[in-house]
Amino acid sequence: MNSALPPLLEAQHITRRLPEGVTLVQDASVKVERGEFIAITGPSGSGKSSLLYLLGLLDRPTEGRVLLEGRDTASLSAAELANLRLARLGFVFQFHFLLPEFSTLDNVLIPIRRLGRLKDAAARAQAMKLLEALGMAEAAAKLPEQLSGGMRQRAAIARALANDPAIILADEPTGNLDTRNAAAVFDIFQRLAAEEGRAILVVTHDAELAKRANRRIHLVDGRIVSDTRAG
């Protein structure tokens, strides 16, 4: 890895405490490089998701700082963070969160149109390309309720990839899927990391799937207790 470049994403001693005094994440430091496929594991309530939201700029740490491509995000406004999420990050959640009123294609188009870098035709082409790559071309015109669980999650991944983000953050993306579909989602993540050089952070409690990642971060009670690279 090239040490001259700043890490893609870096958390420096971040702590997240709720106003009621509960500590979700305690003094966590993580560096994420391009092409890494990281599984965040731990028992329920260990702060895996909270750490992911902090790294995904959805939440702000009480202490410490999060740097995206070397840039400190602490001083950015909510709108600036939103723009960074739009352009640089992609989210996949356990629940697909597709807007039920819109077709699969339109759902994928939402972040592209919000960013506004592509003209209508180019935006549609980009969205179709993403759906095709995930084997979803024939589902483009369908509403989310007409899709199976696995297809919905693949549509959600396509949406996360819409603006060609550097980092994909996934929170229990296979939690609602059967084994076969779960494996397919991890195949996609592996490919995105290995072939396209994106950083993938996946929160999961499935130890078997976590083994397929090339780095595993284990949390207990909000603290990182191990950070191991496979191979």
């Binding site: 998701s49 939201y53 995904g56 959805l58 939440d59 909510a78 709108a79 939103a82 723009n83 960074l84 999420r85 739009l86 352009a87 990050l89 989210f91 959640f93 356990q94 629940f95 969160f97 807007l99 039920p100 009123e101 819109f102 939402i110 972040p111 149109r113 919000r114 960013l115 949406r159 929170d171 229990e172 939690g175």
Partner: protein, 414 residues
């Protein structure tokens, strides 16, 4: 912005029935507002037009608004002057130097004046006596300030000149006396002077008081009848611009001292009733719109509540608080806009319906139907307030939506 509009439209179109109900609420408010406003405005406009049409715009009278100041008050303007037991001097009533004043008034562009002398008289025909109010006019000038010529059903104003002691009377008066066109009657004034007069015209205005009690003759003839030679006791003015009447009346009064009343002042009681009428109308229709606004508030609140997940994902995707607020504000505005459009159509239908109604009354002016204003401004005002009310109603839930924390929602959904 187009994207947010598309999202708003998509969210609304999926709950069609709810949207339709709240849109109907707004539409009914708008429609009633339009119907009632055009009804009221129609009547008021008709009334004012009648007043402006029939009455002179300014009447200069041979009175003063306050008693004339006493010599001691003029000599000591700042002094504490108290006068008691003052007996007003007997002075000849009438507008002083009326010819000069009229010359000045005629000099103002767009102003036409006509001098008149009014007085009481008793008309006698056979054994019948009827007390009437006689107005002495100069036909050529009077024609410019009044509608008498239009209201004549027999004879003409010119006949006043060509006939010695000609008299024009109202139809009701003619029927009461039992006289017809061309008959000769006797007029007796309070001063005891009696003249033989010939009926040279009969008019009908539709106003009972005029038709039953008014007569017109030449100014000179009335001056003889009233024994007030060369006296004019009112100057009637008509203006091209009726809205300038009040200001001009104040100027004339300040300049000449004679009491001058604009048509607005003469009809102030009725015009005040209009103001109260309008206030009642606006508060009633405002209440309808308020209820409609609660409907909008209700639906947007429901949408925000149901769409918590969608709001969370949009925010995590990178939509700002402002985007989310717009998204829901737009939904309220769309509902308001649809309601306004539907309401305008409905209002037009209601106006058409009201226009079909006929009353079985026989008023002389022929008012057997509603007088309806067809004014696009009523539609514009109603639509504007409907959209405004809908937008305001949507602001509160939209702000709540914008402030939702996506992390909490996503955590809860997982």
């Amino acid at each position: 912005m187009k994207l947010i509009f598309d999202l708003a439209r998509g969210m609304l179109s999926r709950r069609r029935r709810q949207t339709l109900v709240s849109v109907m609420g707004v539409a009914l408010g708008v429609a009633f507002f339009i119907a009632i406003a055009s009804l009221m405005r129609g009547f008021q406009t008709y009334f004012i037009e009648q007043v402006i049409d029939v009455q002179p715009h300014i009447v200069v009278k041979d009175e003063t608004r306050r008693p004339l100041p006493q010599a001691a008050e003029i000599a000591h303007p700042d002094g504490a002057v108290a006068l008691s037991g003052v007996k007003p001097t007997e002075r000849i009533r009438g507008i002083r130097a009326s010819a000069e004043k009229m010359a000045i008034l005629e000099g103002i562009p767009g102003v036409f004046s006509s001098p008149i002398l009014t007085g009481q008289a008793l008309l006698r025909y056979g054994s019948r006596d009827v007390s009437v109010s006689i107005t002495g006019i100069e036909p050529a000038r009077y024609r410019r300030v009044s509608n008498l010529e239009k209201d004549l059903i027999q004879g003409s104003m010119e006949d006043l000149r060509s006939t010695a002691n000609g008299l024009i009377i109202g139809i009701g008066l003619a029927q009461k006396l039992g006289v017809g066109f061309g008959d000769t009657i006797i007029a007796i004034s309070p001063k005891g002077i009696s003249l033989q007069m010939k009926i040279v015209g009969i008019f009908r205005t539709g106003l009972t008081t005029l038709d039953n009690q008014a007569g017109y003759t030449l100014l000179k003839v009335n001056q003889i009848l009233q024994d007030r030679p060369n006296v004019v006791n009112q100057i009637l003015l008509r203006l091209n611009d009726v809205t300038a009447a009040e200001a001009l009346a104040r100027q004339i009064e300040a300049r000449f001292g004679d009491r001058s009343e604009s048509w607005e002042e003469q009809n102030r009681n009725v015009l005040t009733v209009f103001v109260i009428q309008n206030a009642i109308m606006y508060s009633v229709t405002g209440a309808i719109l308020l209820v409609a606004a609660f409907g909008i508030y209700n639906i947007i609140s429901t949408v925000v509540f149901e769409k918590t997940r969608d709001i969370a994902i949009l925010k995590s995707l990178g939509f700002t608080e402002g985007d989310i607020q717009w998204l829901f504000l737009l939904q309220g505005m769309i509902a308001g806009l649809l309601g306004a459009a539907l309401g305008c159509a409905l209002g037009q239908i209601m106006i058409e319906g009201l226009a079909q109604i006929r009353f079985q009354t026989e008023t002389p002016a022929g008012n057997d139907r509603f007088l309806l204003a067809h004014d696009w401004r009523i539609f514009a005002v109603a639509s504007f307030f409907a959209i405004l009310a809908a937008s305001i109603a949507a602001v509160v839930p939209a702000r709540r939506a914008a402030r939702l924390d996506p992390v909490q929602t996503i955590r809860g959904a997982a």
